[in-house]
């Protein structure tokens, strides 16, 4: 116990110290965790030692949880739409990379079986690092983000057949493999069944997962939610995830894949947000722990001894993966910058490599001398990924993203306009078009380089860039502009940008899009009075049409909507002072309900529904009616 608490202190302290520093200097949280791991690991401070591997195994559960949360956010329809990328890109990536790496292995003098095994293993990329980094940079929704996700998903699927194939590549007799396999892989009884039964059990397990997820789980959650015990709900959420993982392990499937499937099944349930908010902190902590463990497990003495070999391995690993992805990206028809991002993002070994490598060692597919080197190479390549993505973001994307006019781009962005418009999605593009139609030229920044390319081809002045970077804002003319219009769809990113602009360019007047009341409060609190809730006007427009269709006079309905709007805006401004006073925030979904209640209570005073008194004064009839 003492020991456990002590290492908890070491890990948590490392995270608390390293991550904010890493974020501050722009390295991102993943690299922060990795560095923290290196520092507390045996090579530097030596606070944690041999148990690093165990911690990593425990922390792998963070990946499982991450896939559950991803599944929750992914509706089945979207998954179906990704099927082409999933099978095409993902399948070709795994096969292509495995083939190329195996060839290198054979050339380097490995036995063909060992070479094939390491090729297959190393074709995996790191779901944890790639998704975390892309999400942090807001690139998940870009073309490269979606395609990377599809490839990662396929890799997670591919783990299962690879686990099945590896024992067949062993260099010793089959009997001893079976013995080794039993002890190592937690496959349970299913492994001893003949293949067709195993397939049957697997199918049954997946069917059970879907069935239970659709029927029993919502029922149980309804009961728990009615009991209003928050921690029970958290416990139930954890139970669900861990239960799925255990079931999957039992039938020999990947727990990550199983929980992902569970997430997808629950994506359409009404408890989706509750589940997300409950699992989120565990996921974050475990993933952090996982990255720390990766950092701590980098065997620096080994790297020192075999420096040349390890470096060659890292270079070959990243080089081959990058090459294969680059060729695939060609066929997928991506824009240059997205193409590069896609290839760079996935050009590393992943957490499954560690799992598969230890499995391979246990099954005597690979000698320990080789796996030690490969583990070091994989860990290094993972540590390099955030750096490479950072390089892409800083150096490559701003240039290649505007490849249509590489020389011009910089000049144009120099000639300052009065208005900087950030975020050119549906909302931002409407604002931009309206301003352009009225002769106001804007400097538009967006983070989707393919969109930027397309808009540039249409002759629009749109620039690629992460507007949270001060230098980019500066070159967009923030020092001379009058207005900054912030239309990023992600409310958090929009708010962070507003705060940054207030700090660095205090003269800029900010007009900001807000998702709903809560994000409007946060904007006002951050000192941005010009806040526009994205659905307020269209909702009231619809409401007044509804009133009209129900028989009210059109103008009367319109006036009622105007009055409602004015009162609602006043309420939001009044409530923005106090919204933080209530510390008992349960979670975002319940918070929204609480706010709705408050605003509906404010509506109930009747002033909103009454007519304009001057037009139809009851008092007039009272005064003159008697005469």
């Amino acid at each position: 116990m003492q020991n456990f608490l002590l290492s908890a202190v070491v890990y948590l302290a490392a995270a608390v110290v390293a991550v904010p520093i890493a974020k501050r200097v722009g390295l991102g949280s993943v690299l922060g965790y990795l560095l923290a791991g290196v520092v507390i690991g045996p090579s530097v401070l030596g606070f944690v030692g041999a148990e690093g591997q165990d911690v990593m195994h425990a922390a792998e559960f963070g990946v499982v949880m991450m896939l559950f949360v991803i599944g929750l956010e992914l509706e089945p329809a979207l998954l179906w739409r990704l099927r082409g990328a999933l099978l095409g890109l993902g399948g070709m990536q795994v096969l292509g990379t495995a083939a190329a790496l195996s060839a290198i292995g054979v050339v380097a003098g490995l036995d063909w079986r060992a070479a094939l095994a390491s090729g297959l293993i190393l074709s995996m990329s790191s779901t944890a690092i790639v998704l975390q980094t892309l999400q942090e940079k807001g690139l998940m929704k870009s073309d490269a983000g979606q395609k990377s996700f599809a490839v990662l998903l396929f890799q997670d699927l591919a783990v299962i057949p690879i686990l099945a194939v590896l024992p067949l590549l062993a260099m010793v007799s089959p009997e001893s493999i079976a013995a080794a396999g039993e002890g190592s892989h937690g496959g349970g009884f299913v492994e001893q069944l003949p293949a067709w039964q195993r397939a049957l059990v697997t199918l049954a397990a997946v069917g059970m997962l879907v069935g239970i997820g659709r029927t029993v789980v919502p029922f149980v959650f309804r009961i728990i939610a009615r009991a209003r015990l928050r921690e029970t709900f958290t416990a139930a959420a954890l139970l669900l995830v861990i239960g799925i993982a255990v079931l999957m392990q039992f039938v020999g499937l990947s727990p990550a894949l199983g929980t992902f499937l569970g997430g997808v099944v629950l994506a359409t349930s009404e408890y989706r947000h509750e589940l997300e908010t409950d699992i989120e902190p565990f996921k974050g902590l475990l993933l952090g722990l996982f990255f720390i463990a990766v950092g701590a497990s980098i065997d620096f003495p080994l790297i020192g001894r075999e420096f040349g070999t390890v470096m060659a391995l890292v270079a070959a690993l990243i080089g081959v993966k990058f090459g294969v992805l680059w060729i695939l990206g060609r066929f997928a028809g991506m824009g240059t910058a997205q193409h590069l991002l896609f290839a760079l993002a996935l050009a590393q070994g992943g957490e499954f490599c560690f799992v598969l490598l230890s499995f391979a060692t246990q099954n005597r597919v690979l000698p320990e001398s080789v796996t030690g080197l490969l583990v070091a190479a994989v860990a290094l390549s993972m540590a390099l990924t955030p750096l490479m993505l950072m390089a892409w973001e800083r150096l490559i994307a701003p240039r290649v993203g505007t490849a249509a006019a590489p020389a011009r781009a910089h000049d144009e962005i120099d000639e300052s306009r009065n208005v900087i418009l950030v975020g050119f999605g549906d909302f931002g593009s409407t604002v931009g078009r309206y301003l352009n139609a009225n002769g106001v030229e804007t400097t538009v920044l967006d983070i989707d380089s393919d969109l930027v390319d397309a808009l540039q081809r249409l002759g629009l002045r749109v620039f690629y860039g992460d507007a949270s970077r001060e230098d980019l804002l500066r070159s967009a003319g923030a020092e001379r502009a009058a207005l900054a219009i912030l239309c990023i769809g992600d409310a958090g990113a929009n708010l962070a940008l507003a705060k940054r602009i207030r700090q660095q360019f205090p003269h800029l007047r900010i007009l900001a899009r807000a998702a709903g009341r809560r994000s409007a409060y946060e904007m006002i609190e951050a000192g941005v009075p010009h806040v526009y809730r994205e659905s307020l006007d269209s909702a009231l427009h619809l409401g007044s049409e509804a009133l009209h269709l129900l028989g009210h006079r059109a103008h009367e309905s319109w006036r009622a909507a105007q009055r409602f709007r004015r009162k609602d805006e006043a309420d939001v401004r009044a409530l923005s002072d106090v919204f933080r006073d209530d510390t008992a925030h349960v979670n975002a979904a319940r918070e929204a309900i609480r706010e709705l209640e408050a605003s509906m209570r404010a509506d109930a005073d009747g002033a909103l529904a009454s007519d304009d008194t001057a037009w139809d004064a009851e008092t007039l009839r009272e005064e003159f009616g008697g005469r």
């Binding site: 009055r563 008194t613 001057a614 037009w615 008092t619």
Partner: protein, 167 residues
């Protein structure tokens, strides 16, 4: 034209310049705010161009909504009693175009009768209107002179807190 008139008076001490079309582009007049402004001032000058022999639509809307029964008129509506009301208008045609024998058949004060009656119903003092005529063919000197006259008029009110609505 109106820009010049406004510029001549908007920064005078004791004058509140209140631009209705700037304040309510959506015609959504804040009645409480308007009534508070009226109460705070002794003189109301309503400046606007003459549109179809009458006030612009937002000014009519302003009358409709702000001058409530029981507040501005009626047996208990005494909020505006005793205050001074004056129209300040510009018309495109020359002064000679207005009158019984002329092109427009009525005089300008006759056209303003509804406004005058409104002011009187609200128990306000009706001051004869300030009129700049012939703005279709006015010279920049003419504008300058009109602005000077206007400033003189408003300054004479500025001893008492004057309100100045523009449309």
């Amino acid at each position: 034209m109106h820009r010049q008139l406004v510029r001549a008076v908007q920064d005078l001490d004791g004058v509140t310049f209140h631009d209705l079309y700037e304040a309510y582009p959506d015609y959504d007049i804040d009645v409480a705010r308007e009534q508070a402004l009226l109460i705070a001032h002794e003189v109301v000058v309503l400046q606007h161009p003459f549109y179809w022999y009458s006030v612009p639509p937002l000014v009519k809307q302003w009358f409709d909504l702000v001058l409530e029964h029981g507040w501005a008129y009626g047996s208990t509506g005494t909020a505006l009693a005793g205050k001074t009301f004056q129209s300040a208008i510009t018309v495109g045609g020359r002064e000679t175009g207005y009158g019984p024998q002329s092109f427009n058949h009525y005089t300008i004060p006759e056209f303003l009768a509804p406004v005058e009656a409104t002011a009187r119903l609200c128990r306000m003092q009706w001051a004869s209107p300030f009129v700049v005529a012939g703005t279709h063919a006015i010279s920049s000197d003419g504008i300058g002179r009109a602005a000077q006259d206007y400033a003189l008029l408003i300054r004479s009110y500025a001893g008492t807190p004057a309100s100045h609505g523009a449309a």
